[in-house]
């Protein structure tokens, strides 16, 4: 099997678990530490297995603001099993959406050459739009498959299993391709101490938008943000001293609220 490069697209972004939500619903990320998310760690871990099996180089590609290029950021990604990383770090990309992010990844993939596969996690951790792999595939003119659970590489093609609402779909696709993995595709473990210490010795390339000769697309401007209409909580407390009566009361209340039909959940 002659596969030279496998790319993993990853993001170094604030951890939503460390964000705080104020009473008016605004989310404050200012005290949230930036990390490589577990979604991306799935893609890196899976990519490591594929690259090792076929002797390919596993290249991480990260797009973001200047903090994505900090040594602690690149080491965090490299310690997960990447062979090298290319970071497109630019003030212009600090708040990049899916289109601009995909533009930058596509430019790096084109410069690298010989890329058989681009892997991505289930979604980015901070924006979670799940759009970037699709836009990237469109820019590259490659097929894109989402919700992939397993990948088996062969010469010029890959056999994939996708999780769909109807069940598992087996697909064979010609390479190169863009694939986003489910969050269960690979068991994420923390990087080992040896991997952490080796990370600083691996190659890192930092590029700007100008280095790539990119003209970033207009992603539109957010004019206003409207709060989603919240569902008011009724705050009904059911006395559970008689469990059977409590269950009946609960069912009746759910029916009255339209949440339960005769056949089960509405």
């Amino acid at each position: 099997m002659n596969i030279v490069n496998i790319v993993v697209a990853y993001k170094y972004a604030p951890d939503p678990q460390e964000a705080t939500v104020s009473s008016d619903g605004t989310v404050d990320f200012s005290r949230a530490k930036a990390v490589v998310s577990d979604y991306d760690a799935v893609a890196i871990g899976y990519g490591r297995r594929l690259a090792t099996a076929c002797g390919a180089t596993l290249v991480g590609v990260c797009v973001g603001g200047p903090q994505s290029a900090k040594p602690v950021a690149t080491k965090a990604a490299l310690s997960r099993g990447l062979d090298r990383v290319v970071v497109v770090a630019d003030d212009e990309l600090e708040t990049a959406g899916s289109t601009r992010t995909a533009q930058a990844i596509a430019a790096v993939v084109s410069q690298l050459g010989d890329v058989a596969l681009v892997l991505a996690g289930d979604s980015s951790m901070d924006v979670a739009a799940r759009m970037t792999p699709s836009v990237l595939a469109g820019l590259l003119g490659w097929p894109m498959l989402s919700d992939v659970e397993t990948v088996a590489l062969a010469d010029g093609s890959a056999a994939l299993e996708r999780l769909t609402p109807q069940g598992v779909q087996s697909i064979t696709v010609a390479l190169p391709a863009v694939v986003s993995l489910t969050s269960e595709a690979w068991p994420v473990k923390p990087p080992g101490m040896k991997d952490l210490l080796a990370a600083g010795k691996k190659p890192v390339e930092i590029k700007s938008v100008a280095d790539l000769g990119l003209t970033l697309a207009d992603e539109g401007t957010v004019v206003s943000r409207a709060k989603l209409g919240g569902s008011a909580r009724l705050g009904v407390v059911i006395d559970t001293s008689d469990p059977a009566a409590a269950a009946a009361t609960l069912v009746e209340a759910l029916r009255a609220a339209g949440a339960l039909s005769e056949g089960g959940l509405a």
Binding site: K75, P190, M193, L196
Partner: protein
């Protein structure tokens, strides 16, 4: 001088914290309740590289710096003091003296197994009549041909129940009194005449196996003499310099775990119509705990950094051990106070942390011995 952690040290904290929360926190209360050594954790600790932290890469270890080691112990101890001391004693007390005083054959023979977790290490210095007072070590090691024959008893040996490799201090120069007659030996668990006795039932760190050792005409090959004859006390004291920093890191970790539990509880516990975190009495305790923790952590990292740079660190490690041991008892005590009645029950982890914290004032040199070490530096 502000202490700045390196990228690798910051990432070590993240990785060990993630591991500890996923693999260790779920069993911490159970191993404490059952006084059960967490043997199932050993392959996991090895896989992450935590058993070879102080071992050079050429022998299968990680070759991490001492600050990274302290951070790892701190993070393990944040969720479970038992796991903290298991790795600390294995690394600081058994592995470290072999790395620094072993010859090439000894390193090749013992270090790869200690790094992989195939062997866990332990250290035998304390005896019924010689704890801090090593000069009165009664265990003897009499030369007989190509062997030393060990006789005597050791007590309070951490990891004793399952360790395979022991570094043991015994008197080999029988006509040399005091500490100059002591030597260090590597003793394998299955050596005839060597017996590990019943583990102690302890107040805290209950999952840690703490046992007596008995030597009865136990023949140890002369090839297992660590360093030169008569260097046993020097090796033990250098070993304990690093060990004290490790125990101080354990104390910081235990205190950190209790502090976080106290903050979380203070924010969720409502009294008089408001979370108790809104009460100044609670805020003052939280503030004092935070300052205590930061001061202790700074002392630990300073001592560890000196060790990494191979600078003298006896005094720094004694200061870290003294302050952090007493700090951990204070902080975990306040954590119980903030919890009120439930903090005194097994339903919350702070009572376990309080019991675990107390030992950090005692083992690897009591607080009183640390004060002696520190005062000597100024009164010479």
């Amino acid at each position: 001088m502000p202490f700045q952690l390196t990228d690798e040290q910051l990432l070590t904290r993240d990785a060990v914290r993630q591991f500890a929360e996923a693999e260790i926190a779920p069993i911490a209360a159970e191993i404490d309740r059952d006084h059960r050594p967490p043997l199932e954790s050993i392959p996991k600790l090895a896989e992450l590289g935590l058993l070879g932290l102080v071992i050079p890469e050429e022998y299968g270890g990680t070759g991490a710096d001492s600050v990274s080691f302290a951070i790892a112990i701190e993070e393990l101890s944040r969720v479970c003091g038992t796991h903290g001391v298991l790795v600390e004693a294995h690394s600081s007390l058994c592995t470290w003296p072999i790395v620094h005083h072993g010859n090439a054959e000894q390193k090749q023979k013992y270090l790869p197994a200690l790094a992989s977790g195939e062997a866990i290490g332990a250290f035998g210095l304390t005896e019924p009549g010689a704890g801090s007072d090593a000069a009165h070590t009664a265990t003897t090691a009499q030369r007989d041909g190509d062997d030393f024959v060990l006789n005597g008893q050791k007590i309070f040996i951490t990891n004793g129940g399952f360790a395979k490799t022991f570094v043991v201090i015994a008197r080999s120069l029988l006509d040399v009194p005091g500490v100059k007659g002591l030597s260090a030996f590597i003793v394998e668990r299955d050596t005839p005449g060597f017996q590990v006795l019943e583990p102690e039932r302890k107040m805290g760190i209950r999952g840690s196996s703490t046992t007596p050792l008995a030597f009865s005409d136990c023949r140890v090959p002369a090839a297992n003499l660590l360093g030169r004859e008569g260097e046993g006390f020097k090796i033990a004291m250098q070993t304990l310099d690093g060990g004290r920093t490790g125990i101080a890191a354990q104390a910081v970790g235990i205190a950190q775990g209790a502090f976080e539990a106290a903050c979380a509880y203070a924010k969720e516990r409502v009294q008089f119509g408001q979370p108790i975190a809104a009460l100044q009495a609670i805020q003052w305790m939280i503030a004092d705990m935070a300052v205590d923790l930061e001061a202790g952590r700074a002392l630990v990292y300073q001592a560890a950094d000196l060790e990494s740079r191979q600078e003298p660190h006896s005094q720094a490690s004694a200061m870290a051990k003294l302050f952090c041991g007493e700090m951990a008892t204070r902080v975990t005590g306040k954590a119980i106070q903030i919890h009120g009645g439930v903090g005194y029950t097994e339903a919350y982890p702070v009572e376990r942390m309080y019991r675990d914290a107390k030992i950090t004032e005692i083992y690897e040199g009591t607080s009183e011995i640390q004060r002696l070490v520190i005062a000597r530096q100024y009164l010479r």
